[in-house]
Symmetry: C2
Subunit: 142 residues, 2 copies
Amino acid sequence: MGKATISDISRSLIEIVWYFGPKGLNGECCKNLTMPEFIALDKISTTTNCAVQDVGYSLGFTKSGATRIVNRLEKKGYVQKIKSHEDARICCVEITKSGERVLSSANSRYVEQFHTIAAKMSDHSLTDTVEVLKAMAKALKG
Amino acid sequence: MGKATISDISRSLIEIVWYFGPKGLNGECCKNLTMPEFIALDKISTTTNCAVQDVGYSLGFTKSGATRIVNRLEKKGYVQKIKSHEDARICCVEITKSGERVLSSANSRYVEQFHTIAAKMSDHSLTDTVEVLKAMAKALKG
DNA sequence: AATTATAGTTGACATCGTCAACCGAATGGA
DNA sequence: TCCATTCGGTTGACGATGTCAACTATAATT
């Protein structure tokens, strides 16, 4: 038996990340929406005049990768690209009605998954758990 | 401006997952080790007579995918495959010295990243945060 | 002994993101 | 004003990664 080389916190974090990440949840947050698409769609829905590159920034993709993921979302009918009036180089990406439905549905499913897990954490209240995760997410940006 | 369609907890969880996941941390937990490889290596290092499929199970991969990731690790010199004596169909995957070094190094880097974030969470002690994450990881398996 | 189940491998394939080269539009200094 | 540069976006070629289905070999069952 090899000794357990990695620490508890690493393993816990990785398990969480793997479970809620791109490969977990059957590889899709929602029917027809991968995790990066989920993130992109959220970014688009909360950003006015969202340029293609803005999507790339929030995902850590190159501008090429940004174009590709936006195109995929467009093909699925969840967003549309509109040339900016102020600057003709920029494409403003906007979420469609269909996109909003899918985003909302993905969110529900994601939250539901989280609640299922949180319900099993007998030593921690849902509120506490949520607070820690929110604080952690906030710390990522600081 | 589209209304923010998704809930805080979804967004927080996703941000964490994205940051500590396959795409975050420069796409590699450690030089020359992707996130699935990290997980596989940990599984291998803590499992006696680890079959190729066992690696697949812990990642949620098909047996084909398991073969491929083990082969990749073997090519990098981090594991070796040994035919089982009891059952000639089974390949026991074992971590090498080099593999242990890399795993340990990836772990350090991962823990360090976590501590950097945790240090910024002024409202939550490191201990509390760790406890919540451990409990959450445990709940995933229950 | 013949059938069936299991572990693993492999070829063909789809997905996805990067890199580098490119286009067109904006901008700024001579 | 003209030209060089910068900037947003797109595209072709590519590499990485995982699945599916077909296959081999070994074990277990009947």
